[in-house]
């Protein structure tokens, strides 16, 4: 990588005159910019694109490095095992969709509401906008500490205590050990962590909305809801599409929040495909199987993103 840079700098820096011929002319033209980009692009290809390809390559091998250093080609056997013989797989797939769509939807809705709030005429608006980013900078393990502590299963856990006081709970609920109640906690924690970034993006979209548009709608007698529905929302649509996409990808690969909170449990109740890759690879050291799960996880993401893209495109054509 450093060689590429020094080469680029060397030829680029000497400039006109010394470098002759076509290459020289190219370096003095567009080639210079390409040379500036190439170290990073090459690095990303080697460290991200190649590993992606390699991950799907090992998915057709039986490769368990702690048992034997060799890998044997098994075709689609890993996939067949997952689909037919692994009961957990389908639960995990269901969890994955629940998590991906649920967490993204909640984040986008809460984030949009938050952005509308922070876009209002307020004193100290800058301060609020800075403070709201606190969850975004909080490392996931600390997020896990916070939410595990708030949803502590004892009767003096914050949430149990107040729910008890309000008469909504007679006995303390052991949130994180329950197949059902673990989900609200995980979703709440991910909303807390993810919403600030959504607010940030939607706020930017709102700020590009001309004030006169809203004003003229107000003059025409449109109420707050109608103004939102017919003026603000159509303007926000492209921003919301990009935001949803970003939230979706983040939620999918940042499985570490779930891991820190529940390690995918109780049992496999909160395990999603990316977590399953992790446990297959680094608990069971079954790299071949992990590769198969990873490939499925990638295809799942691409499908969801593709469907989303198609929907927004259809929407656009439908409205124009």
């Amino acid at each position: 990588m450093t060689e590429a840079v020094s080469a680029a700098i060397g030829t680029g820096g000497r400039g006109a005159g010394r470098v002759r011929g076509r290459t020289g002319a190219w370096m003095r033209g567009q080639g210079f910019w390409l040379a500036l980009m190439s170290p990073v692009l090459l690095f990303l290809i080697v460290t991200q694109f190649w590993p992606l390809v390699d991950t799907s390559r090992i998915s057709v091998f039986d490769y368990q490095p702690t048992r034997s250093p060799d890998s044997t080609f098994v075709g689609v056997q890993n996939y067949v095992d997952l689909f037919l013989n692994d009961r957990r797989f389908w639960i995990i797939t269901r969890n994955s969709f629940l998590w991906m769509l649920g967490s993204t939807a909640v984040q986008v809705v809460v984030g949009t509401a938050g952005a509308l709030v922070l876009n209002m005429n307020l004193r100290l608006r800058g301060l609020w906008r800075g403070l709201m980013m606190v969850p975004w900078v909080t490392p996931v393990v600390v997020v896990a500490i916070i939410w595990r502590w708030m949803f502590d299963g004892g009767e003096n856990g914050l949430v149990n205590y107040y729910l008890g006081q309000a008469g909504l709970l007679s006995d303390p609920l052991v949130w994180l050990s329950s197949d059902v109640w673990v989900w609200p906690v995980v979703l709440l924690a991910s909303t807390w962590k993810g919403t600030p970034f959504v607010i940030l993006l939607v706020l930017a979209g709102l700020q590009s909305l001309p004030g006169e548009l809203i004003e003229s709608a107000r003059v025409d007698g449109a109420g707050a809801f109608k103004r939102f529905r017919y003026v603000v929302l159509p303007h926000l649509r492209p921003t919301l599409a990009v935001t949803t996409l970003i939230a979706l990808v983040t939620v999918w690969f940042k499985f570490e929040l779930i891991w820190a909170l529940t390690t995918g449990g109780p049992a496999f109740a909160t395990t999603i495909l990316p977590i399953y890759v992790f446990t297959q690879a680094f608990r069971d050291f079954n790299f071949g199987m992990a590769g198969a799960v990873a490939t499925i996880a990638m295809l799942t993401l691409l499908t969801v993103v593709g469907v989303l893209g198609l929907l927004t495109r259809l929407r656009k054509e439908g409205s124009s």
Partner: protein, 284 residues
């Protein structure tokens, strides 16, 4: 008549501020609760009902968090600071060059470069971890800070190049053309004309890279575990698993210490960073 109008105005102000209050409570209360609990004597934490009082607070938990016999946060913070700062500086240098190139390049494959950067942001975590683990194990790089600094570039570079190029695009090209007429080479133009103007952007991207690296847990969890290489998050999580719920006070104090560096870094560059992040997203 005016009475009604005054009342309506008051109601609208009250509505606005209660909405902000609700939002801020949701986003800040959990963090405030963490800080308050970390200051409470450990024996009180479990035995008594939740308390928001500022009375009877203590720094005992912080002593435990920092001491070598407790969490050992001094070592953990030192390791993490070193890894994240190195990551940030490397990212800044390479993303600055690449971002400048991306902002100005118009030749063959300009779109391909953009696509590579966008796709790279989608190829993360579990999709690349297995080869990274195998290869770094063969190279003897497991459990080193080097491997973390390298893999963190995959988190930071795609976004950083993107941000840098959006900062560079805002700089009028006439400045560079003028410098070229004066006979300055392109690298000199970059160093002496463009960079000084882009400096706030470069600083913001550096800090952004630092925050992203600080927020990683999965890579550190997979690739490091020894005493001198594990990061703050791995260290705290390990203690949390082994101690279970016996010393929540100390764990929470460690959690507070783990947030402080990123909050400071974020506060330093808040404005430029937010404008950069949002400009890129809305256009894209």
């Amino acid at each position: 008549m005016s009475d009604v109008r005054v009342r309506r105005a008051v109601a609208s102000v009250a509505g606005r501020y209660s909405a902000v209050l609700a939002l801020m409570l949701f986003l800040l209360l959990p963090a405030i609760w963490l800080v308050l609990s970390s200051l409470r004597p450990n024996r009180e934490i479990f035995t008594s009902m939740p308390s928001w009082s500022f009375l009877g607070l203590t720094l005992d938990n912080y002593e435990w968090a920092l001491s070598e016999r407790g969490m050992g946060m001094v070592q953990l913070l030192a390791t993490t600071l070193f890894v994240c700062a190195t990551t940030a500086v490397l990212t800044a240098v390479f993303a600055m060059l690449a971002g400048y190139g991306l902002a100005r390049y118009q030749g063959v494959g300009a779109r391909a470069a953009v696509v590579i950067l966008l796709l790279a942001q989608m190829i993360q975590g579990p999709m690349i971890l297995i080869p990274w683990y195998s290869v770094t194990a063969q190279l003897g790089l497991l459990n080193t800070r080097t491997v973390l600094i390298l893999i963190y570039q995959t988190i930071t570079l795609p976004a950083a190049v993107w941000l840098m190029s959006s900062f560079f695009r805002r700089i009028p090209q006439e400045l560079e053309e003028a410098a070229a007429i004066d006979g300055a080479g392109r690298l000199r133009t970059l160093a002496q004309v463009v960079l000084p103007i882009a400096m706030p952007g470069v600083a913001a991207v550096t800090m952004y890279a630092f925050i992203l690296a600080w927020n990683d847990y999965q890579y550190a969890l997979t690739l490091t575990s020894s005493r001198t290489t594990k990061t703050v998050q791995v260290g705290i999580a390990q203690v949390m698993e082994s101690l279970g719920a016996t010393n929540w006070g100390g764990i929470m104090a460690s959690g507070v210490l783990a947030i402080v560096p990123v909050v400071i870094v974020f506060a330093l560059v808040q404005k430029t960073l937010i404008s950069g992040l949002t400009a890129g997203a809305v256009k894209g």
